[in-house]
Assembly symmetry: C2
Homo-oligomer: 299 residues x 2
């Protein structure tokens, strides 16, 4: 095996994941850092990258490529958005150099559902990395869902991201679980309550009303309060699965590619299969590595 040729980082709001990659994109070393850009002071990203990230990965002299919120105004430096449609070649031509051997992948922008834009930073690298891993997917039309705090529903056509829609499902779950009448410290691990929540989601309409069912089922003695987080998770994911892809496509999808965290993808799969959608699941981290390698490998 050749030595590492690239330092690749997925540097988000709450976390930084870093890998060194060899000349065919295999991981040589990896390291996580609690250096999310939301915790960094202005100017701190550059300093800590050189002082902590490079040494920890023995990557002092490697070219580096970064994706995610590190390219936002609260990150290292703003990497201007690229507009959809965009594929790997489009992004490769628009990297922002922030230091002699450090480049940041641009975020993506497209027309949103209400006149303004929609935006992503980081997920584009995973989606395009998934295409790099799966050459047979580079033709035709694919609906990719990346679950998370801000879930992304992405329409891919012939190897380029043509449009996407963001849903704040994960953030809704977090704020409701911590700060609302539905708050609870219980784990969201009750499959029966999750399925009850999926059933209560309807067609993704009237969410504010459907949310109250999470309270009423406990007050009315139909369920234990400890099952509320699972029920809420099912209700929110079910509502998203029923409605967000329709905003993207104008109709319900027949097939969806789930790309992301395995546990979260399992929940989304359950919501989608219930709606007769054919689902494939792919690992988001492997896709991020493939995307960063495709965009950053020395040529």
């Amino acid at each position: 095996m050749a030595g590492p040729v690239l330092l690749a980082c997925d540097w988000g709001t709450t976390n930084l994941r870093a890998w060194t990659l060899d000349d065919v994109g295999r991981v040589a070393a990896e390291h996580d850092f609690a250096l999310g850009v939301s915790k960094l002071a202005p100017g701190e990203a550059a300093q800590r990258f050189e002082a902590e990230v490079r040494p920890a990965l023995q990557a002092r002299d490697l070219p580096a490529i970064l994706c995610g919120m590190v390219g936002s105004t609260i990150g290292w430096r703003e990497a201007p958005y690229a507009d959809c449609p965009a594929g790997l070649a489009d992004l490769a031509g628009r990297l922002t150099k922030v230091a002699p051997a450090v480049r940041i992948v641009p975020g993506l922008r497209c027309e949103g559902i209400a006149g303004g834009p929609d935006v992503m930073r980081g997920e584009e690298t995973q989606v395009l990395g998934w295409l790099a891993q799966n050459p047979e997917r580079r033709t035709g039309r694919h609906v990719v869902c990346h679950p998370g705090t801000h879930a992304k529903w992405v329409l891919v056509e012939d190897g380029r991201i043509v449009r996407f829609v963001t849903a704040m499902t994960g953030e809704l779950f977090a704020v409701l679980s911590h700060h609302s009448l539905l708050k609870s410290d219980a784990p969201a691990d009750d499959d029966a309550a999750f399925d009850e929540g999926l059933a209560a989601a309807g067609e993704g309409d009237a969410l504010a009303a459907r949310l109250f069912t999470a309270r009423a089922r406990v007050v009315g003695g139909k369920a234990k309060a400890e099952s509320t987080p699972s029920y809420l998770s099912g209700l929110l994911i079910g509502s998203e699965a029923a409605s967000a892809p329709r905003l993207l496509l104008g109709e319900a999808p027949k097939q969806v590619v789930l790309l992301g965290d395995a546990a979260l993808c399992t929940r989304y799969r359950r919501a989608l299969v219930r709606r007769d959608v054919a689902v494939e699941v792919f690992d988001g981290e492997a896709a991020a590595i493939a995307g960063l390698f495709a965009l950053g490998a020395p040529r």
Copy 2:
């Protein structure tokens, strides 16, 4: 004018409003107390009612009637729910006596939208009080909306509440304004941004996705961050107005009676009129007083 004959209280989660009423239901005196039941220790409601509320209203010897969360498990004592359909006579027959001259109005329960029950405490007194104030409404079918932290959409037929749906719109606004990516201290007083939010609400579907437009319009440079609370208010109220009454009726309503706080009713009217719904607005406090008088006046 005769002297007061009844001490009437709307005692909710965050506040207690008290009035003494004469023998035809006119207000003789009124007083607000920061004694919401969420702040009371067990047993404290009875003690503070006698020590503070009665003396402040010079009502030591009057019969008293209370509605609202004071009848919940965290209040004075639980006043069991009455089941729909229910009118004034049904509630009058089910008051819970908690002290020799103190009675609590039962909350209402009906079948909810997801198999469990839906519940209210306090709004039933306003809706039935509105009927007491408006005898010509005691026949026929009326859709009443009571906006608030937990907004209620209530179907009234021939003087009885037959069904209702709760929407957590006000609570969603509060938790998102204080704890999410959309948080802001700015006032929600920008009518143009409110209308933008109404337009972005669609048919009340895909709320988690539509919420992200509140972020994207600012990130994309289309709007100032200070307009976010107004936009968010329009988006949430617009979403509720489009979808919650459909859950109640199976179709969109043609006419809606708004009953509640004047400023909030103005917002809901704007959302409903935009959807070609005919709207009448009535004062919630006057309706509460009329309902308490109808249920509690000595006979």
